[in-house]
Symmetry: D2
Subunit: 143 residues, 4 copies
């Protein structure tokens, strides 16, 4: 299996398991080694009375994207810590897209940067995640 | 209205508006000036196939707690940025509690620390939020 | 050796080695398990033309305090990541004090919070550090 | 004055004022709007007894780079908060280089990413800085 096929297989394994992201309507748009892009529409349950999206929903979209990206090498990894900067509000009906890239991967640690934009391309949030690899693979003999 | 009554009134106004936190089953347990405590049970939609809670749900609980705490002075405030450290996993059925305190409030900026524990008192996550006040009040003439 | 004596012995070992903190004039004021307090006077080389202290010097003071606190168990630990919030400027001649406490210590990870104040007790900065233990001790057989 | 000349003029004004960065031997290698690159050699006063560079010195290099980048529009800006991930140690004699780019600039807020590498191109640290603009310019009528 080449790198891209492997990244897709790890993503398939994650998608099957991640009930929460499915519940929130997330769609994996693209994945390759060290990269993922996920979209989500801001629904009625994600907003407040002013139709503003809860910051936790924006975080969750970026966190799922982070999980796809940092597991794309087929070495299980978990989030150790994350930081998010909220730059503009998201609204009911917005289609948000989170794009995540691998910035560093050294030993058991990885750093990933996610950018969340709306359907107009406006920057909504920046998210930096620190991953730590743990034992186990997502696909193959150890899965 | 004294400080405690005012803090409770701002919290009531927020609870009425925050559909997302209600949807996730959050319960405001306690609020006073610069302080809030919120609980949430990890439900079936919040976990993956191994019954582990999505980090975004833990973040969202802490973020809602942060919002109650930083708006408790009846001066509207929004999250500018947040950082979370994940220390132990949360599982299906866990009753999580987030306790938030005000660490600093200088000019238009505030720093708040949230601690998320499970029903056994185990520490699950630490969350630090940076708030910025904006125009408007939650209760009273401008509400 | 009891816990306090051990913490002091680790601190002595660190002080002997840490040329940079000595060069910047830092003074260890107090240390015990999971706690340290360090002071530093803002000197002429630490400021700009408006006599404002460089943020890097404030960070360095907090980072040294963090190192004392997270090594106080006599298990070598290093900084994995740190976040600092700058709340008020420090000026030439200010005597800054950083107080560090252990917030969590789980497995190989630790989280420490440092508070930097000036000689008037004004809050200057908040620093949160994530430590990871590595092999080796500071004092005793392996030192 | 065009954008590049203006960025250089703001940098010149900062270099003249920033005694601390000069004291640490920092050299501005390149600057343009929303970008700066600064280098520094790890000297004897920056290390411990194992010739490992103090994390505070690495932070200070990145923080100075951040200051050049976020002031390059000739609108005074200060650091509100910064986060650094330490990925590999730096040693005595290493020539460190910090490259900073503007990731977002919305209203009075800006987010900047600095990457610190050594002379072999090895990644040493990642630094994300949040800037807030304040009144005043660095060059021109208000300087």
């Amino acid at each position: 299996m080449d790198e891209l096929a492997l990244a897709r297989a790890t993503a398939d394994a994650m998608t099957r398991e991640d009930r929460c992201s499915a519940w929130l309507g997330m769609r994996l748009e693209e994945v390759r080694q060290g990269y993922a892009r996920v979209s989500m529409t801001v629904g009625e349950n994600m907003v407040n009375g002013h139709d503003l999206c809860h910051g936790g929903m924006i975080f969750t979209l970026a966190d799922t994207t982070f999980a796809y990206a940092c597991n794309s090498h087929n070495q299980r990894a978990v989030a150790a810590g994350c930081a998010i900067e909220f730059l503009a509000p998201a609204h009911l009906g917005d289609v948000l897209s989170a794009e995540g890239i691998e910035v560093a991967r050294i030993g058991r640690s990885g750093v990933y940067d996610m950018k969340v934009t709306n359907h107009n391309g406006q920057l909504i949030a920046l998210f930096r995640g620190k991953a730590a690899t743990i034992k186990g693979k997502l696909v193959g003999e150890e899965a």
